[in-house]
Protein backbone atom coordinates (compact mmCIF):
# COMPACT_ATOMS: atom_id res chain seq x y z
CA UNK A 1 0.00 0.00 0.00
CA UNK A 2 1.23 3.46 -0.78
CA UNK A 3 2.66 5.77 1.85
CA UNK A 4 1.40 9.17 2.86
CA UNK A 5 3.31 12.35 2.18
CA UNK A 6 3.51 12.71 5.95
CA UNK A 7 5.37 9.82 7.52
CA UNK A 8 3.33 10.07 10.67
CA UNK A 9 0.11 9.71 8.64
CA UNK A 10 1.08 6.54 6.79
CA UNK A 11 -0.32 4.06 9.32
CA UNK A 12 -3.73 5.64 9.54
CA UNK A 13 -3.74 6.18 5.77
CA UNK A 14 -3.10 2.50 5.11
CA UNK A 15 -5.82 1.54 7.55
CA UNK A 16 -8.16 3.80 5.66
CA UNK A 17 -7.02 2.42 2.28
CA UNK A 18 -7.75 -1.14 3.40
CA UNK A 19 -11.18 -0.14 4.56
CA UNK A 20 -11.91 1.75 1.35
CA UNK A 21 -10.69 -1.02 -0.95
CA UNK A 22 -12.92 -3.58 0.74
CA UNK A 23 -15.84 -1.21 0.75
CA UNK A 24 -15.33 -0.38 -2.93
CA UNK A 25 -15.43 -3.97 -4.18
CA UNK A 26 -17.78 -5.50 -1.66
CA UNK A 27 -20.29 -2.72 -1.08
CA UNK A 28 -20.10 0.19 -3.47
CA UNK A 29 -19.91 -1.82 -6.68
CA UNK A 30 -22.77 -3.95 -5.42
CA UNK A 31 -25.02 -0.96 -5.02
CA UNK A 32 -24.52 -0.14 -1.36
CA UNK A 33 -23.05 3.36 -1.18
CA UNK A 34 -23.51 3.92 2.54
CA UNK A 35 -20.21 5.08 4.02
CA UNK A 36 -18.17 2.76 6.21
CA UNK A 37 -14.73 4.30 6.43
CA UNK A 38 -15.52 7.88 7.40
CA UNK A 39 -14.05 7.68 10.91
CA UNK A 40 -10.76 6.43 9.58
CA UNK A 41 -10.81 8.98 6.79
CA UNK A 42 -11.36 11.92 9.14
CA UNK A 43 -8.52 10.79 11.37
CA UNK A 44 -6.26 10.39 8.37
CA UNK A 45 -7.31 13.73 6.93
CA UNK A 46 -6.63 15.53 10.21
CA UNK A 47 -3.11 14.26 10.10
CA UNK A 48 -2.69 14.96 6.40
CA UNK A 49 -3.96 18.54 6.49
CA UNK A 50 -1.38 19.48 9.10
CA UNK A 51 1.39 18.04 6.97
CA UNK A 52 0.15 19.85 3.88
CA UNK A 53 0.15 23.12 5.79
CA UNK A 54 3.65 22.48 7.08
CA UNK A 55 4.85 21.84 3.56
CA UNK A 56 2.90 24.83 2.26
CA UNK A 57 1.08 22.62 -0.21
CA UNK A 58 -2.32 23.82 0.98
CA UNK A 59 -1.98 27.05 -0.98
CA UNK A 60 -0.77 25.22 -4.07
CA UNK A 61 -3.83 22.99 -3.88
CA UNK A 62 -6.17 25.91 -3.27
CA UNK A 63 -4.86 27.54 -6.45
CA UNK A 64 -5.34 24.34 -8.42
CA UNK A 65 -8.92 24.09 -7.18
CA UNK A 66 -9.69 27.53 -8.54
CA UNK A 67 -8.89 26.34 -12.06
CA UNK A 68 -10.35 22.91 -11.69
CA UNK A 69 -12.76 22.74 -8.75
CA UNK A 70 -13.48 19.60 -6.86
CA UNK A 71 -17.24 19.50 -6.26
CA UNK A 72 -18.20 19.28 -2.64
CA UNK A 73 -20.53 16.75 -1.17
CA UNK A 74 -23.81 18.49 -0.57
CA UNK A 75 -23.39 18.04 3.16
CA UNK A 76 -20.03 19.72 3.47
CA UNK A 77 -19.38 23.44 3.35
CA UNK A 78 -18.90 25.03 -0.02
CA UNK A 79 -15.60 26.73 0.70
CA UNK A 80 -12.51 25.13 2.15
CA UNK A 81 -12.21 27.55 5.04
CA UNK A 82 -8.79 26.81 6.36
CA UNK A 83 -7.45 28.13 9.62
CA UNK A 84 -6.43 31.57 8.53
CA UNK A 85 -7.55 33.27 11.71
CA UNK A 86 -5.13 31.72 14.11
CA UNK A 87 -2.60 34.39 14.89
CA UNK A 88 -2.08 33.28 18.42
CA UNK A 89 1.59 33.78 18.90
CA UNK A 90 2.71 37.36 19.07
CA UNK A 91 6.41 37.29 19.20
CA UNK A 92 7.86 39.58 21.78
CA UNK A 93 10.22 42.01 20.23
CA UNK A 94 13.26 43.24 22.04
CA UNK A 95 15.43 45.90 20.53
Amino acid sequence: MSSSIGEKCTNIKQEYDSCFNSWYSEKFLKGDASPECDDLFFKYKDCLMKVLEEKKLDTLLADARKDNPFPNASSSSSAPSSSSSSTNSESTRKD
Binding site: S3, S4, I5, F41, K45, L60, A73
Partner: protein, 200 residues
Amino acid sequence: MKFFQATHKFDHSWAQVTAANWMKYPNEQCPHVIAVDVLDRHVDPETGVLRTERLLTCNQNAPALVLKFLGGSTLSYVRETSELDPKTKKLTMRTQNLSMCNVLIINETVTYTVNPQDESSTMFKQEAQIVAGSALSRFSSYVEDFCLTRFRDNAAVGRAGFEMVLEKFKAASHEATSQLEKATVATAAAAAVNAAGASL
Protein backbone atom coordinates in the same frame (compact mmCIF):
# COMPACT_ATOMS: atom_id res chain seq x y z
CA MET B 1 1.08 22.74 -27.30
CA LYS B 2 1.12 19.06 -28.12
CA PHE B 3 -1.51 16.40 -27.79
CA PHE B 4 -1.19 12.77 -26.99
CA GLN B 5 -3.91 10.19 -27.35
CA ALA B 6 -4.01 6.47 -26.83
CA THR B 7 -6.61 3.77 -26.46
CA HIS B 8 -6.25 0.29 -25.14
CA LYS B 9 -8.41 -2.67 -24.25
CA PHE B 10 -7.90 -4.48 -20.97
CA ASP B 11 -9.22 -8.05 -20.93
CA HIS B 12 -10.59 -7.62 -17.45
CA SER B 13 -13.92 -6.52 -16.16
CA TRP B 14 -14.52 -2.90 -15.35
CA ALA B 15 -14.97 -3.82 -11.68
CA GLN B 16 -11.55 -5.47 -11.59
CA VAL B 17 -9.83 -2.69 -13.49
CA THR B 18 -11.23 0.07 -11.32
CA ALA B 19 -10.56 -1.80 -8.07
CA ALA B 20 -6.96 -2.43 -9.12
CA ASN B 21 -6.66 1.20 -10.11
CA TRP B 22 -6.95 2.31 -6.48
CA MET B 23 -4.07 0.04 -5.53
CA LYS B 24 -1.67 0.95 -8.27
CA TYR B 25 1.10 2.33 -6.10
CA PRO B 26 3.67 1.60 -4.93
CA ASN B 27 5.06 -0.58 -7.65
CA GLU B 28 8.39 -1.41 -9.11
CA GLN B 29 7.77 0.26 -12.44
CA CYS B 30 6.96 3.60 -10.88
CA PRO B 31 9.45 3.97 -8.06
CA HIS B 32 9.31 7.72 -8.42
CA VAL B 33 5.76 7.82 -7.00
CA ILE B 34 6.63 7.90 -3.32
CA ALA B 35 3.29 8.84 -1.77
CA VAL B 36 -0.38 8.86 -2.68
CA ASP B 37 -2.79 10.78 -0.49
CA VAL B 38 -6.55 11.06 -0.59
CA LEU B 39 -7.46 14.70 -0.11
CA ASP B 40 -11.19 14.28 -0.39
CA ARG B 41 -13.66 11.60 -1.30
CA HIS B 42 -17.42 11.29 -1.25
CA VAL B 43 -20.37 9.74 -2.98
CA ASP B 44 -22.64 12.33 -4.54
CA PRO B 45 -26.00 11.75 -2.85
CA GLU B 46 -27.94 12.66 -5.98
CA THR B 47 -26.03 10.91 -8.71
CA GLY B 48 -24.30 8.13 -6.78
CA VAL B 49 -21.00 9.11 -8.37
CA LEU B 50 -17.86 8.47 -6.30
CA ARG B 51 -15.61 11.51 -6.39
CA THR B 52 -12.01 11.39 -5.28
CA GLU B 53 -9.29 13.98 -5.10
CA ARG B 54 -5.74 12.73 -4.58
CA LEU B 55 -2.25 14.12 -4.31
CA LEU B 56 0.68 12.18 -5.73
CA THR B 57 4.14 12.96 -4.45
CA CYS B 58 6.93 12.06 -6.82
CA ASN B 59 10.67 12.12 -6.96
CA GLN B 60 11.93 14.09 -9.91
CA ASN B 61 14.04 12.19 -12.38
CA ALA B 62 15.72 15.27 -13.74
CA PRO B 63 19.40 15.81 -13.00
CA ALA B 64 20.13 17.98 -9.98
CA LEU B 65 21.74 20.63 -12.11
CA VAL B 66 18.68 20.95 -14.30
CA LEU B 67 16.45 21.22 -11.25
CA LYS B 68 18.67 23.92 -9.83
CA PHE B 69 18.53 25.83 -13.08
CA LEU B 70 14.78 25.56 -13.22
CA GLY B 71 14.31 26.37 -9.57
CA GLY B 72 12.49 23.17 -8.83
CA SER B 73 12.86 20.90 -5.84
CA THR B 74 13.58 17.20 -5.96
CA LEU B 75 9.92 16.49 -5.24
CA SER B 76 7.03 17.15 -7.54
CA TYR B 77 3.31 17.03 -6.95
CA VAL B 78 0.42 15.93 -9.10
CA ARG B 79 -3.24 16.50 -8.32
CA GLU B 80 -5.73 13.96 -9.57
CA THR B 81 -9.50 14.27 -9.52
CA SER B 82 -11.72 11.41 -10.50
CA GLU B 83 -15.37 10.62 -10.99
CA LEU B 84 -16.60 7.08 -10.96
CA ASP B 85 -20.16 6.37 -11.97
CA PRO B 86 -21.18 2.85 -10.91
CA LYS B 87 -24.38 3.02 -12.99
CA THR B 88 -22.89 3.92 -16.34
CA LYS B 89 -19.65 2.18 -15.37
CA LYS B 90 -17.34 4.96 -16.27
CA LEU B 91 -14.27 6.16 -14.43
CA THR B 92 -12.78 9.48 -15.48
CA MET B 93 -9.51 10.65 -13.97
CA ARG B 94 -7.92 14.02 -14.57
CA THR B 95 -4.41 14.90 -13.52
CA GLN B 96 -2.32 18.01 -13.56
CA ASN B 97 1.12 18.74 -12.20
CA LEU B 98 1.13 21.27 -9.36
CA SER B 99 4.84 21.94 -9.33
CA MET B 100 7.19 23.05 -12.08
CA CYS B 101 4.29 24.66 -13.90
CA ASN B 102 6.62 27.37 -15.14
CA VAL B 103 8.49 24.62 -16.94
CA LEU B 104 5.80 22.32 -18.18
CA ILE B 105 2.08 21.80 -17.79
CA ILE B 106 0.61 18.41 -18.47
CA ASN B 107 -3.13 17.95 -18.35
CA GLU B 108 -4.18 14.38 -18.66
CA THR B 109 -7.59 12.75 -18.85
CA VAL B 110 -8.06 9.03 -18.65
CA THR B 111 -11.30 7.08 -18.89
CA TYR B 112 -12.16 3.47 -18.20
CA THR B 113 -15.42 2.22 -19.64
CA VAL B 114 -17.03 -1.13 -20.29
CA ASN B 115 -16.32 -2.41 -23.78
CA PRO B 116 -19.73 -2.31 -25.52
CA GLN B 117 -18.73 -5.27 -27.72
CA ASP B 118 -17.61 -7.44 -24.85
CA GLU B 119 -18.67 -6.66 -21.31
CA SER B 120 -15.88 -8.72 -19.79
CA SER B 121 -13.30 -6.25 -21.04
CA THR B 122 -12.60 -2.59 -20.39
CA MET B 123 -11.77 0.23 -22.76
CA PHE B 124 -9.07 2.64 -21.72
CA LYS B 125 -8.68 6.05 -23.27
CA GLN B 126 -5.92 8.47 -22.49
CA GLU B 127 -5.55 12.04 -23.63
CA ALA B 128 -2.89 14.50 -22.63
CA GLN B 129 -2.10 18.07 -23.42
CA ILE B 130 1.50 19.16 -23.03
CA VAL B 131 2.42 22.82 -22.82
CA ALA B 132 5.87 24.24 -22.22
CA GLY B 133 5.74 26.77 -19.44
CA SER B 134 6.89 30.35 -19.47
CA ALA B 135 10.39 29.52 -18.24
CA LEU B 136 11.05 27.59 -21.40
CA SER B 137 8.96 29.49 -23.90
CA ARG B 138 11.96 30.07 -26.18
CA PHE B 139 12.42 26.35 -26.46
CA SER B 140 8.79 25.38 -26.27
CA SER B 141 8.66 23.40 -29.46
CA TYR B 142 11.73 21.37 -28.56
CA VAL B 143 10.59 20.79 -25.00
CA GLU B 144 7.10 19.79 -26.02
CA ASP B 145 8.37 17.34 -28.61
CA PHE B 146 10.78 15.84 -26.12
CA CYS B 147 8.07 15.46 -23.52
CA LEU B 148 5.58 14.04 -25.97
CA THR B 149 8.03 11.29 -26.89
CA ARG B 150 8.73 10.62 -23.26
CA PHE B 151 5.06 10.61 -22.40
CA ARG B 152 4.33 8.14 -25.18
CA ASP B 153 7.06 5.78 -23.96
CA ASN B 154 5.85 6.01 -20.39
CA ALA B 155 2.29 5.37 -21.45
CA ALA B 156 3.25 2.15 -23.19
CA VAL B 157 5.25 0.94 -20.21
CA GLY B 158 2.43 1.88 -17.91
CA ARG B 159 -0.20 -0.04 -19.82
CA ALA B 160 1.96 -3.14 -19.96
CA GLY B 161 2.55 -2.85 -16.25
CA PHE B 162 -1.11 -2.43 -15.46
CA GLU B 163 -1.86 -5.59 -17.46
CA MET B 164 0.44 -7.48 -15.11
CA VAL B 165 -1.28 -6.03 -12.08
CA LEU B 166 -4.62 -7.05 -13.48
CA GLU B 167 -3.53 -10.63 -14.12
CA LYS B 168 -2.53 -10.97 -10.50
CA PHE B 169 -5.64 -9.17 -9.41
CA LYS B 170 -7.85 -11.53 -11.35
CA ALA B 171 -6.11 -14.60 -9.98
CA ALA B 172 -6.61 -13.31 -6.48
CA SER B 173 -10.00 -11.79 -6.98
CA HIS B 174 -11.72 -14.04 -4.49
CA GLU B 175 -9.16 -13.59 -1.79
CA ALA B 176 -8.94 -10.92 0.84
CA THR B 177 -8.26 -7.38 -0.21
CA SER B 178 -4.91 -7.36 1.51
CA GLN B 179 -3.84 -10.20 -0.72
CA LEU B 180 -4.77 -8.19 -3.73
CA GLU B 181 -2.74 -5.31 -2.52
CA LYS B 182 0.30 -7.48 -2.13
CA ALA B 183 -0.13 -8.71 -5.68
CA THR B 184 -0.34 -5.15 -6.86
CA VAL B 185 2.74 -4.11 -4.99
CA ALA B 186 4.71 -7.01 -6.34
CA THR B 187 4.27 -6.04 -9.95
CA ALA B 188 3.86 -3.01 -12.07
CA ALA B 189 1.09 -0.62 -12.75
CA ALA B 190 -0.30 1.97 -15.07
CA ALA B 191 2.57 4.36 -14.79
CA ALA B 192 1.47 6.68 -17.48
CA VAL B 193 -1.99 7.20 -16.18
CA ASN B 194 -0.95 9.26 -13.22
CA ALA B 195 2.75 9.42 -13.18
CA ALA B 196 3.82 10.45 -16.63
CA GLY B 197 3.26 14.04 -15.81
CA ALA B 198 5.19 13.67 -12.62
CA SER B 199 8.05 11.76 -14.09
CA LEU B 200 8.97 14.33 -16.64
